[in-house]
Symmetry: C2
Subunit: 328 residues, 2 copies
């Protein structure tokens, strides 16, 4: 297509700290398994002190998706806010290292670069505690109009609804994209996040979102139903395209009046589910950018999500382009 970028991601720019914990640890810290909890810097430090050795690597939901897209060969850009500290350097390096355009200026002052304590239990499920840090300083001013116009699809994470100024940035980006005739994709991010911002998300999905990503819990929370198929039908009404991930079972995809289920791939060694949804979106959008059918988009999403859960961390640790070719 004529635009400079296939996908522009906008999200919370975060460095992950990955550690293994027991289920008892989650209970003792009053953390809900599988959820994302926002914590203060001090709360993060208190939990960190109790954790074992960690591995640090770049994260952030939309950033993970963009990294996956870039690794497959999509033309990508990313907007997110870091501070010019050591973790900010790591984040910027990693996102640029895959060829992604990253133009958001780093803050010189204020809170440090965001970090997320990713607590991985023996069942490979991850529970997250996020200190948003510099992310709270992403504002409308950071949304460069030309870059948004230059992207066929802008991809937004629901987590952006948590830091207040990012909401305005989010709305500005949607308006620019639609005015330019480009598409808007949204990932609902987390059922607790959907719960926190329920009415706003529902309005947004109906009016501003062309391509919706969610998992079963999130879509059921959004449409206040216990039936994922019922929720999928509602998503089909509200958005041009919707993709609902169902863990090992695969995904439900809708496109205009089509709806279908795409079988999941068998994953031999499940290590860490961090990034599964993010990389599903990467595979889906990569196929979509290449003019594939909605079923093929779902299948590539499943394939790429299946790779990221075989190792610790939410970013691909292999060349996804080659991986996709080898497994097509």
């Amino acid at each position: 297509m004529a635009n400079k970028y296939d996908v522009l991601g906008i999200g919370n720019a975060i460095v992950d700290v990955l550690t293994h914990v027991t289920d008892d640890f989650l209970v003792s810290e009053n953390l809900t398994k599988g959820s994302m909890t926002l914590v203060s810097e001090q709360e993060a430090a208190n939990i960190y002190e109790k954790l074992g050795q960690g591995i640090e690597c770049s994260g952030g939901s939309a950033a993970n998706t963009i990294a996956g897209l870039a690794s497959m060969g999509s033309r990508t850009s990313y907007m997110g806010k870091v501070k010019d500290d050591q973790l900010g350097t790591v984040f910027q390096h990693d996102i640029k290292s895959l060829g992604t355009h990253f133009g958001t200026s780093a803050e010189n002052n204020g809170p440090s670069t965001a970090h997320c304590l990713v607590l991985v239990t023996p069942d490979a499920e991850r529970t997250m505690c996020t200190y948003l840090g510099a992310c709270v300083n992403l504002t409308e001013d950071d949304i460069d109009e030309q870059t948004v116009r230059d992207a066929n699809i802008i991809y937004l994470e629901g987590y952006l609804w948590d830091p207040e100024p990012a909401k305005a940035a989010f709305r500005k980006a949607i308006k620019i994209a639609h005015d330019a005739g480009n598409k808007v994709a949204l990932s609902l991010s987390d059922s607790f996040c959907v719960g926190r911002h329920h009415a706003e998300f529902l309005a947004l999905v109906k009016d501003g979102v062309d391509i919706l990503f969610a998992n079963e819990d999130e879509i059921k929370m959004l449409y206040a139903t216990d039936d994922v198929n019922e929720a999928a039908l509602q998503a089909q009404q509200d958005c041009h395209i919707a993709a609902i991930t169902c863990g090992a079972k695969g995904c439900i995809v809708t496109h205009a009046d089509e709806i279908g289920h795409v079988q999941g791939r068998n994953v031999e060694k499940l290590v860490d589910t961090t990034g599964a949804g993010d990389l599903f979106a990467a595979g889906f959008l990569h196929a979509l950018s290449n003019g594939r059918s909605i079923g093929e988009c779902g299948a590539l999403g499943n394939l790429v999500a299946g790779e990221v859960i075989t190792h610790l961390g939410a970013r691909p640790d292999i060349d996804l382009k080659k991986f996709v070719e080898d497994n097509a």
Copy 2:
């Protein structure tokens, strides 16, 4: 034993940045495969810019050994210098998280916490570029006399010979340890490091070292011979105990008038050799602290080294105590 610590490690406190590179990249950067090169902050930044996504995790040769020992249940302490920046926080957290005593004060000013670019080629060999940063500020004053006296064995890395003030710290620690009737262990670290400080290392090994760790290249460089068996015999003369690692072949161990070869274990999936020597020393010293024979020490060294090379990074990513029990 009566002392408070089984092993006190003293070394360069470093956070590793692990990335995959091609052999061509090493050639284009004039890096010698398998070696450690000291670089300035700017040189490190220039190389980093050309690298792909990385994973950050605590490293440092002696610190890796101490982490391995702590994970097996040895009573450990560590001395090394970081700055009070984000990577310094990571290093301190990780070493303490395993129950290791860490009392060295972090610097408020001066160079940032050391980092090492660990470039892993497809054959799993690692090539390292180290920016020493705050490590250059480890001095005699950081060697707490009581802590040294409290350790049955002090374990020193040859890399300490690179930052000038650390040499004095090194000598001070040896004197305190020997005056207290404790043992001194040294890892030669790197054949290039041995080459840089050849005469000094030779004098040190003859006069100040009770337990010597080296790989084939290092021991041959130290004794200026092409024959590893000849070098082993010389080490046997100079040190009470010597252990020479020979990669997949296992190790040669000497103890007073005993000398023998301990067969290596078969490793199914070789991923990254970073930390192999460090974890060998951990297994060896853990067995030694538990009164095992020299052959058993070599065998535990081989076993634990075999674990760390199956994953990215130089620290154990499993509970080594359980691993050792399961594989005894």
